[in-house]
């Protein structure tokens, strides 16, 4: 049953999710999946399928701005996608197993925990770029780069280190992406920022760039199992694209402080709800 009302409602949910996602830096999927499954009774696999679709769209849409500004490091992103795609294959296979064995409650709990840890990581952020001693992987994998920082008006030269550590974190990020139907942006940023000592702007931009490839790899199984429902995925995706676009505009104006705290608080409640639901309490 497809109704105009329901479609409009889905667009609205997508819009809010896209806005929240880009303002908090957590991505839209983190809101879509819980809202659809907790409030609208959409089965978790369909909610995840719709949110993955929206995630791919947001990645293609938002990566563009950073590439234009030459902040994205295409080489580093590409090399880390080796691990995210392998992780995504195994993650989505695990998801297929979990859904076919009626173990979805495990995913509710994992989803809640993943959001909680993302919130924690987002709140304690603001690491500054540190000059670190280059290692063998800096040269071997061509991890040097530069970008122009608009706010400080200077050209920043950087070199990444510990490629293998970044690659390991990305394996886990890919796994979570496939398992939970999310983009794993927070974990990707962490792997590049803390793991490889790349500047936070480069890490964020490159993560946005990578998410599309990770999410597509995860989505194939969702698509082939019929978990991506056209009349759910389409309105959600359109909404998220619009929301993410306006979110990035607000972000530029830096007025987002208070809204951001409110959204993080809501996300906290949502993740607790997901965990409770997983344990069969809510």
């Amino acid at each position: 049953m497809i109704s105009v009302f329901l479609s409009a409602l889905y667009i609205l949910i997508g819009l809010i999710a896209g806005l929240v996602g880009s303002l908090t830096g957590l991505g839209g999927a983190v809101v879509i999946t819980p809202v659809l499954s907790l409030l609208f009774g959409v089965p978790l696999e369909y909610a995840a399928g719709a949110s993955l679709t929206a995630t791919i769209a947001t990645s293609s849409g938002s990566a563009v701005a950073y590439i234009k500004d030459k902040i994205t490091n295409i080489r580093i992103g590409m090399s880390l996608e080796i691990a995210t795609t392998i992780g995504a294959i195994f993650g989505s296979l695990s998801a297929a197993f979990v859904y076919s064995h009626n173990l979805a409650y495990l995913l509710f709990i994992s989803f809640g925990l993943a959001v909680l840890s993302s919130i924690y990581l987002i709140l304690k952020k603001k690491r500054t770029h540190r000059k670190s001693k280059e290692d063998w992987s800096t040269t071997a994998f061509q991890l040097r780069g530069k970008y122009y920082d608009k706010s400080t008006k200077e050209e920043i030269h950087y070199s990444g280190i510990r490629w293998w550590l970044g690659e390991s974190v990305m394996l886990f990020a890919g796994l979570l992406s496939g398992l939970l139907g999310i983009g794993s942006g927070v974990l990707k940023v962490l792997g590049m920022d803390v793991g490889m000592h790349l500047p936070i702007k480069v890490s964020t931009a490159t993560s946005d760039f990578m998410i599309g490839v990770t999410a597509v790899t995860s989505s194939v199984i969702y698509l082939s199992l019929g978990y991506i429902q056209p009349f759910l995925a389409a309105p959600i995706t359109i909404g998220v694209l619009i929301g993410a676009f306006y979110g990035s505009k607000v972000m530029e104006h830096e007025k987002a402080g208070k809204i951001k705290i409110l959204f993080v608080a809501i996300l906290f409640v949502i993740s607790i709800e997901m965990i409770l639901r997983g344990f069969g309490i809510a």
């Binding site: 563009v64 597509v216 199984i221 995706t237």
Partner: protein
Amino acid sequence: MKKNYMEEVIDFILRAGATTSAAFLAAGLLTTFLTAYGPTLGNNLILTGILVLFATPVARVSVSIFMFAAERNLLYTVITTIVLVNILIAIFIVPFVLHLWAP
């Protein structure tokens, strides 16, 4: 020079992909609710939009292989090829394995 070219091509692919798929998704919804063709055509338009959406990152990776090759960057030509192979495994082999699993 070459690097700027690469960024521009990738930028174009992502931009075109996102815009085209969003247009198909919107057209699918509008067709369903506003025209006599109803959900069947709408459904097909949306599926086309989803396929374009999926194809965009794959196209981005495929094109990058040639661009790294043109830069004579052997390591990254190989790395990008591995990424494409992984995606192709996910598209063609994994669903097959899955259906053997649970027919």
